[in-house]
Symmetry: C2
Subunit: 206 residues, 2 copies
DNA sequence: ACAATTATTAACCAACCAGTTGATAAATAA
DNA sequence: TTATTTATCAACTGGTTGGTTAATAATTGT
């Protein structure tokens, strides 16, 4: 019993260190020595618990997906929640989770685009989102003339993009939008939550 | 006179090769040997014309910004063009340029977020966008009650994000939105142009 | 024609990379 | 106790990395 604690200890130290190093530098920018140094273990220990840099990275990537804010999609599957409340809740949740750990989502998206061949399958496995409830709600609302007849995909794409973009690509937007001050940018992001909701609703009800 | 042709030739061969390799793999994933191999020149030639991997990369990054589709911002500076037409033109131009070379904008955004301390300054230098005309047009339109009183920054952020996101992070969206077929995704992107315009206008006129 | 400059090359270098080995210590099982 | 398994480590391996050097070939100006 006491032995397994040590196992978990060392293995977890490595995993946690790998998590933070990979998140910061990506798989190409990170070296395993940096990871083992940070974990304060011998380099050979990493290969005792994990069989390659790539496999270790994939485990980190899986963890990244789970912490990336995409769980907010769950709220879209709820049966009872009315459409508009659902949208509001989704935006709130997604924004909140993204702001809490912007590095994670940035990591997932960046590494995915740079190593899609290695990671796409993992993303597919890890994300499972059932759109049927949302589809039905949208169809019913459109049939009742409460909203325009829009594509559920476009709706999701719009909300996710609007929330994600300025958070994961902060440097890009702060320069192009000329909001170079850190605090101003935070205000700008805060302001966005309302903007995104307004924009989405006005689009739906036009 | 004839000598400078050779200079330009070799140097350009290296630059072009570097451009394509860096775009594909990023600075961390690319090796200089790969670049010189592709350019069919001796490795030392690279260091004859460029003094380090980092400087070469920065030159490639500069070129990347110019080809990234951000020139579409120019249309926002036009004096005569009315606001709504301007927005339409901006969306059209941006989408078109992004679709023509999605790799470039993806490269710029990704590398910027991974190496911001090295690249932010370059981005600031290279992008110069004068928002004053747009600001005035928005203010005037709001004063005349033609549009709601919205923030020009948020307007720009919305449009850019909506256009950029699904194009540069194709893999991410194709999985989360469950549009795994390549052709379907192209249709989805084509559809978006109209969606983005509708969404923006309905938001402005609410 | 010849000196000076520019362009090119193969061979080299130290540092670093991911990954291994074989010996050893610690825990567990008999 | 002793045999076995699990955990840890320093030292090593073969290959690659970004970058240099010194000699040479080609081009240029005079």
């Amino acid at each position: 019993m006491s032995g397994s604690e040590t196992v978990a200890d060392t293995k977890n130290k490595i995993l946690e260190s790998a998590y933070s190093v990979f998140l910061e530098k990506g798989i190409d920018g990170a070296g395993i020595k940096e990871i083992t140094d940070k974990a304060e273990v011998n380099k050979a220990m990493l290969y005792y618990y994990f069989d390659s840099k790539e496999h270790l990275f994939q485990e980190v990537f899986r963890k990244g997906i789970k912490e990336s804010g995409l769980q907010a999609l769950d709220v879209m599957e709820a049966e009872e929640l009315p459409l508009f409340e659902k949208i509001k809740e989704f935006i709130d949740l997604l924004t909140k989770q993204l702001l809490e750990e912007p590095l994670v989502s940035s990591f997932v998206v960046n590494e995915l685009s740079r190593h899609s061949e290695m990671l796409t399958e993992i993303l597919i496995e890890t994300i499972e989102f059932d759109r049927s409830v949302l589809d039905r709600q949208i169809k019913e609302a459109a049939d009742a003339y409460e909203i325009a007849r829009i594509s559920p995909r476009q709706l999701l794409a719009n909300i996710i993009t609007l929330c994600l973009g300025p958070i994961i690509n902060q440097k890009f937007y702060s320069v192009t939008l000329d909001v170079l001050d850190e605090d101003d940018y935070r205000k700008f992001l805060q302001e966005r939550k309302g903007v995104i909701y307004d924009m989405t609703i006005s689009w739906l009800t036009t």
